[in-house]
């Protein structure tokens, strides 16, 4: 759950304190304040945290688990025994949802964080070396973008990847494949941003001072693309959760006996009319998850955007919010 560190209020406040023994407000503090001022964003953060906690401790709140079959309650609607009802196999839906949420969040976080990391390394390398290296790496990047990810997912998870499948759980396999296909867009963005940063005078100043390249990248480039990285992490997490649901939904992602939100939703589609709760419960959880991430992403974008404080007018705070929301 490391991605939360990026916006952990305590850490940010601490950092601000170190940076300033003066009255001056640090940039991180300003960002935090802006983020906290955005009620939607804070609500998003709260929902996301709540879901994460739920997915870890929720399992202890019910006597049922995801494997035990209740032979007396098969395909039952919500009742006192089974808070959210049971599946057609007679497994407690609440337990399944807890498990599915955890797998979905896990996939989202791992893919979101790791793909941004790969993208940052790849993109910065391209921008720093430029020339031929950049050309070749860009070509590889575009070739990967061209490759339909779905096919590879299908090959890896359903087809003959038997050797792999025996050794690895399907969620891990899905993580690996999603990772391979999720970082290219961000890498391209980071490349172009770093390239423009390389042209900036403060980078030139450092070069003329004789500062070594490694230090310039670490001290000047990385912090300045930091806001983009944080934004891309939330975006990447959302994207990965959505992809997992989509793939599992049509039956090529996570495979039973592993559960995820996508699997739960997908399994329930055939009998929506008969067993509506089986479909709607995991779907609502998924909406809460992706929705809360989108709300957070929105607030973060506003907080990072230095120009966001200057638009609009005092008596129009509401419209202003919309304006910010839409200024992408």
């Amino acid at each position: 759950m490391t991605n939360l560190n990026a916006i952990d209020p305590a850490a940010v406040a601490e950092e601000a304190k170190i940076e300033n023994d003066d009255v001056v407000i640090a940039k991180s503090a300003i960002i935090l304040r802006r983020f906290l001022r955005n009620k939607t964003a804070v609500a998003g953060l709260a929902i996301f945290l709540a879901l994460t906690v739920f997915s870890f401790v929720g399992g202890y709140l019910t006597p049922w688990d995801k494997e035990t079959i209740d032979p007396f309650n098969i395909g039952m609607p919500p009742s006192a025994d089974h808070l959210l009802g049971t599946s057609q196999a007679g497994i407690d839906l609440y337990a399944l949802t807890v498990e599915g949420t955890r797998i979905s969040i896990l996939i989202g976080l791992v893919v979101g964080l790791a793909s941004v990391l790969i993208a940052a390394i790849y993109g910065c390398t391209m921008a720093y070396f430029g020339g031929k290296v950049d050309k070749v790496m860009l070509f590889i990047l575009e070739a990967l973008i061209m490759m339909p990810a779905l096919l590879v997912v299908a090959v890896a998870t359903s087809g003959g990847g038997n050797g792999l499948q025996e050794n690895l759980p399907s969620w891990l396999l899905l993580i690996i494949v999603l990772l391979v296909f999720s970082w290219m867009g961000t890498a391209r963005l980071i490349r172009s941003l770093s390239m423009s940063l390389m042209q900036r005078d403060f980078v030139k100043a450092a070069q003329y001072m004789g500062i070594p390249a490694r230090r310039i990248v670490w001290r000047h480039l990385v912090p300045n693309i930091g806001s983009l990285l944080v934004l891309d992490i939330t975006r990447g997490v959302t994207g990965a959760i959505l992809a997992e649901v989509a793939f599992s939904f049509i039956g090529i992602g996570i495979k039973v006996p592993d559960v995820s939100l996508g699997v739960l939703i997908g399994q329930a589609t055939s009998q929506v009319a008969t067993f509506p709760w089986m479909f709607w419960v995991p779907l609502v959880v998924m909406f809460l998850l992706t929705g809360s991430l989108a709300m957070m992403n929105d607030g973060l974008r506003d907080a990072f955007d230095p120009s966001s404080g200057s638009i609009g007018s005092a008596n129009r705070s509401k419209t202003q919010k919309t304006a910010k929301k839409n200024s992408k």
Partner: protein, 328 residues
């Protein structure tokens, strides 16, 4: 101009070759049709299986490299993409599938672009007003719904309509009613009834991105210096915006066409699966389930070609709206 496009086309041709090659090796090394044959009754001997595959050009005893050379030679010299494990010729199957996919997506692509751009302009003109908020919020909502689930929900809605009306006016699966007799009009109505739901579903999921992008680009240009110049000439604000800002705001949208077509194609896997149209997308998944190396590679090549077409179209569209690119 022409030479520029030719150069781009050459680059993409190389990329298509590379992705297809990579795809072939991935498929040939993981897909093992022989395993499926083992499940037949009566169970064939391994020698029988090998022999039958050798006849279809799928000799499992050859190394992947040898098979690749054979396959490539036949594609390049005879335009023969090989055969499926069941003996069907890829070339024959491919034509039908591409035609079905094209019929499914062409209308949706055109509608997505037109509606997205038109709504973008409409909401930008009514920034912060009620209509803008509703439409823009909707576009953001689409962003957090996985495409197959959105399609499925549309399908549910259509079924509901049918039930309410008490008659099957909308078909939620299939491309046409099999064995339908009747004159042209009957055929036409049947076609509409089959097309309506998938086209609607793909379009309403697709236009959100374009609406947001177009709205943003137009708003970015509304206060541009050249709009002010136009107003200083004596044009009203609205005239200045429609005559000057609008055209300039099309430039980035035109560039993004490159990604629409492949994106819709990718969404196509889901759409074909859910609406049971047997196009290229569902074929690719079936091919993997059936361990069909040649079909999987062909669909992958098709995906790459679609992407390249999108990219070249985007180049072309950009040249059309932006005179600065015209001078090469």
């Amino acid at each position: 101009m022409f030479r520029y496009l030719a150069k781009r086309a050459a680059t993409y041709l190389l990329m298509i070759f590379l992705t297809t090659t990579a795809g072939y090796f991935l498929a040939v090394s993981t897909l093992q049709p022989a395993l499926l044959e083992q499940e037949r009754i009566p169970r064939p001997t391994p020698e029988q299986v090998t022999n039958s595959f050798r006849l279809k050009g799928l000799d499992p005893t050859l190394t992947p490299w040898e098979r690749y050379i054979d396959w490539l030679t036949s594609v390049v010299t005879r335009w023969d993409w090989g055969r499926s494990p069941n003996g069907a010729f890829i070339n024959a199957e491919f034509g039908d599938r591409v035609w079905i996919s094209t019929r499914l997506f062409l209308a949706s692509i055109v509608l997505t672009l037109i509606i997205g751009v038109a709504l973008g302009v409409y909401t930008a003109a009514r920034q912060y007003k009620f209509q803008d908020r509703v439409i823009t919020s909707y576009s953001y909502l689409v962003y957090i719904v996985p495409a197959p689930i959105a399609y499925f929900l549309v399908q549910l809605g259509a079924i509901n309509i049918n039930e309410t009306v008490g008659e099957r006016i909308l078909f939620v699966t299939g491309i046409s009613t099999p064995g339908l007799e009747g004159n042209g009009w009957v055929q036409f109505v049947d076609m509409l009834a089959h097309y309506a739901v998938p086209t609607f579903a793909i379009t309403i999921v697709g236009w959100g991105t374009y609406q947001i992008a177009q709205r943003q680009y137009l708003l970015d240009n509304v206060n541009a210096d050249f709009v002010r110049t136009a107003r200083a000439k004596g044009l009203t604000r609205n005239q200045a915006i429609t005559r000057h800002a609008l055209r300039v705001s099309f430039i980035p949208v035109a560039q993004s066409i490159a990604f629409t077509i492949p994106a819709i194609f990718a969404g196509g896997f889901f759409a074909e699966k859910i609406f049971a149209w047997h196009g290229v997308g569902s074929w690719s998944i079936d091919a993997i389930a059936l361990q069909d190396v040649n079909a999987a590679t062909a669909t992958l090549a098709y995906g790459s070609v679609i992407f390249a077409i999108g990219a070249i179209l985007a180049d072309f569209a950009t040249t059309l709206v932006d005179p600065r690119v015209r001078v090469q």
